[in-house]
């Protein structure tokens, strides 16, 4: 308690605004203030600490209310409200419990660092923040949770706090855009890969003559398409998140869809992990549930690979690998997700079929008979023939 009071008094400026006093800092924050540019965020931070200080001044134990979000639950009745974007209950963090006191201490310290980042117009990573107070932050996860809490509290996304990670995604195809004044002209050489920009808010001037966007799960498949010059002969944009997509890739994808309004197809391995990546693109991830609204792509269509494709495209039996115990466990857990039954029943039945057959296969297996099969036959025929769900 002392530690927090010291931090709060030493480091924050006081700015009194409205005479209305709230006992609970979080309550006031939950009034919808949708602007998240740095000035507004700095104001919100000041307001938040003002409320905390008021509580302390009046001898009341300060507490913070955080909204809880989730994107799915395991309720099979279909009557849950996970599909709405409202929060599912609140969590109150107060100084009454010792573990909460630590959590509040961490939150305030991280908030201080973020305030500094916003004021100096600088960006930092989660790891950098962890190393700033290694004596207090026992591990990285503690900092990650504080950052998530702050996003919920200030009703913004992580990038608004100037907390960024390294970019993982790659893009190629018939696309031209500007990032902070620099031109990315993929149209000149459509089969050349470019990294997906990390500062997506600085992307502008998006121009494209593509007819669709194709997402691939793995870098190896992306490379295969680049090597076969897929984009030279097919009018499209290809993106990969290289596994589970990171936030910049998902934001960039959303930006492209909002600007270009093109159909989006997703190509993943026919295994539980591929399916999980597919659902991450479509529905969002639990970790970033508070931001799911801005990150998910409900328009995405599953192009492949389906369990039924192995027979349809003559995949040799030897390329079908057995599902491991871990795979089965993951698939069973995914079947319970409420959003599948409600919004993607066809996807759910394909997953069930995969489990029944007990085998999985990778996209690379489709190249076993002929190297260019994927680029020349599989993808174009599926898109033209409507072989997606």
């Amino acid at each position: 308690m002392d530690g927090i009071v010291r931090v709060v008094f030493q480091n924050f400026e006081l700015k009194s605004t409205s005479p209305i006093i709230r006992t609970n800092a979080g309550e006031e924050m939950s009034r919808r203030g949708s602007s998240s540019n740095p000035c507004d965020l700095l104001k919100k931070i000041k307001e938040f600490t003002r409320c905390l200080l008021e509580d302390l001044r009046r001898g009341r134990s300060p507490s913070v209310t955080l909204n809880r979000y989730r994107i799915y639950c395991t309720d099979p009745s279909g009557k849950c409200c996970c599909s709405s974007d409202l929060h599912m209950g609140k969590e109150i963090v107060s100084l009454q419990k010792e573990c909460h006191a630590y959590r509040l201490d961490v939150l305030l310290r991280v908030l201080l660092i973020i305030q500094q980042l916003l004021q100096e117009n600088r960006h930092g990573s989660k790891r950098d923040i962890y190393y700033m107070h290694p004596a207090v932050f026992s591990e990285q996860a503690v900092v990650d949770r504080a950052i998530n809490d702050i996003c919920i509290l200030l009703e913004c996304s992580r990038h608004n706090l100037n907390v960024v990670a390294v970019g993982k995604g790659l893009v190629m195809g018939w696309l031209k855009f500007f990032e902070a004044g620099k031109k990315f002209d993929c149209i000149n050489s459509p089969s050349k890969a470019h990294p997906v920009p990390v500062f997506v808010e600085e992307v502008e001037g998006i121009v494209s003559v593509a007819q669709y966007i194709l997402i691939v799960e793995k870098e190896a498949v992306f490379q295969r398409l680049a090597d076969d010059r897929f984009c030279d002969t097919n009018n499209c944009i290809v993106i990969t998140g290289r596994g589970y997509p990171d936030v910049p890739t998902r934001r960039f994808l959303r930006l492209l869809i909002e600007n270009l309004c093109l159909p989006v197809y997703c190509l993943v391995d026919c295994d539980p992990y591929g399916f999980d990546i597919l659902t991450t693109y479509r529905f969002g991830s639990m970790q970033m549930a508070y931001d799911a609204k801005f990150l998910r792509v409900p328009e995405i269509r599953w192009l492949g690979a389906f369990p039924s494709d192995s027979k349809k495209y003559g995949l040799p039996e030897r390329c079908l690998l057995p599902l491991t115990a871990g795979d089965m466990k993951k698939a069973e857990a995914m079947l319970l997700r409420c959003y599948l039954q409600r919004e993607a029943p066809k996807w759910r039945s394909e997953l069930e079929m995969m489990m029944q057959r007990g085998v999985k296969f990778e996209i690379e297996a489709l190249s076993a008979s002929s190297i260019s099969f994927l680029a020349e036959k599989y993808i174009p025929s599926k898109i033209q023939g409507g072989g997606y769900i």
């Binding site: 930092g124 990670a165 260019s372």
Partner: protein, 388 residues
């Protein structure tokens, strides 16, 4: 100058074995020669197919060549062949695997196509199921770490890339540099945004790059996160430099580009900024000497990289809680580094310190002193010539 450098190594080049990056026609020719040689052995009056000359990849066959005039050391495998009897079933299978891979490679080369190792695995699984059961087997057949030398790279003396196996390039660079690929626009690498300029995986075009720069140093960075931090702070303008990263363990494209940069800009010293742990040192050594395990590809792309940080002398800058215990994997790497004779004495001391303390530290821990500290740290070290 180039020829002079080559000839200044006292082991004459003709006896060195190294894997070159060759055009497809050359690799096809080598495969055809290998087939003819094998057939000749089979039909000779005393067919000695029970033994075949293969390059010995054992550690006692690795030599270090220390350049006397160029300050560049590299590792290579010398012409010590080992004879392998084909009377043992396992040896025969391993030998046949090499031929199966070459069969697919020649098909790829004829059509000028490339594959990934995973795709190669599936092709082999379907065409020769009795010989290939796992991805690991395929990888070892292409470029083995086992001492038998039953691998395609050693057999044909050409790099994996030349066989038609796709190599992805992870590397990026940024800084005071103008690059021009043949028939392309000039790229100004100081205006690339914080993700930098991506290094292409096309090794041929890297060899033909036109390079122009007014930088005074080249800084090699281990991690992508640090690269992004330095790029955002535009360190390359305060310290006129080129910053390059392979985002982890260096791939061949990044090493080729670094080598090209040193050849084009020979007066620029190269500094490495790695984490204080055995993996960081291993990454530095790969840039410096070549890959420890892949002796054949090392030779050509070694560069004189100096260890700027983090080193034992910097540990006082970091609070105690920022240290992390070493994992078993780190200790394994430390052991294999220690056992290689090319590690110079001062590096060996640092490694011993790491292992004895049982801890490691990341460069990000320097952020304890604020975001500006990293730039100042690098500048101070360069100015004080504090590198080994």
């Amino acid at each position: 100058m180039e020829d002079f450098c080559k000839s200044s190594l006292f082991y004459s080049d003709q006896h060195l074995c190294y894997a070159e990056i060759l055009p497809p026609s050359e690799v096809r020719a080598r495969i055809e020669v290998a087939v003819l040689n094998f057939l000749r052995t089979l039909i000779s009056p005393n067919p000695s197919i029970s033994s075949l000359p293969l390059i010995n990849r054992r550690s006692n066959n690795r030599r270090v060549s220390h350049g006397l005039l160029t300050d560049v050391s590299s590792i290579f495998l010398s012409h010590s062949f080992c004879a392998r009897s084909l009377m043992k079933a396992n040896a025969t299978k391993a030998f046949v695997r090499v031929w199966k891979v070459m069969e697919i490679c020649i098909e790829l080369l004829v059509h000028e196509k490339k594959v990934t190792q995973r795709e190669l695995f599936y092709k082999l699984l379907c065409s020769s199921p009795d010989y290939f059961t796992s991805q690991l087997q395929v990888n070892k057949t292409i470029q083995g770490q086992c001492p038998t030398g039953h691998d395609v790279v050693a057999f044909l003396r050409c790099s994996r890339y030349s066989l038609g196996i796709m190599a992805s390039s992870r590397g990026a660079l940024i800084g005071r540099l103008f690059l021009q690929e043949p028939n392309q626009e000039i790229v100004d690498c100081s205006t690339c945004g914080s993700s930098g300029h991506a290094i292409t995986g096309d090794l041929n075009s890297l060899e033909n790059l036109v390079i122009k720069s007014d930088a005074r140093y080249i800084i090699v960075v281990e991690k992508h996160a640090i690269f992004q931090r330095l790029a955002e702070d535009r360190i390359f303008n305060q310290i006129p430099s080129i910053i390059i990263t392979a985002k982890g363990y260096p791939d061949i494209a990044t090493r080729v580009l670094l080598h090209r940069l040193t050849r084009a800009l020979p007066d620029l010293p190269i500094f490495a900024l790695v984490d204080w742990n055995p993996s960081g040192l291993a990454i530095l050594c790969t840039f410096k000497f070549g890959s420890i395990t892949m002796g054949l590809e090392a030779y050509k792309y070694a560069c004189n990289v100096r260890w700027l940080g983090m080193r034992g002398c910097d540990l006082h800058l970091i609070p105690e809680q920022s240290f992390i215990p070493l994992k078993p994997w780190d200790l394994q790497i430390a052991q294999s580094l220690m056992s290689s004779e090319m590690l110079q004495e001062n590096y060996r001391e640092e490694l011993t310190l790491m292992v004895q303390s049982g801890q490691r530290a990341e460069i990000e821990s320097l952020h304890f002193h604020g975001y500006d500290f990293l730039g100042k740290y690098i500048a101070t070290k360069i100015v004080q010539s504090d590198y080994i």
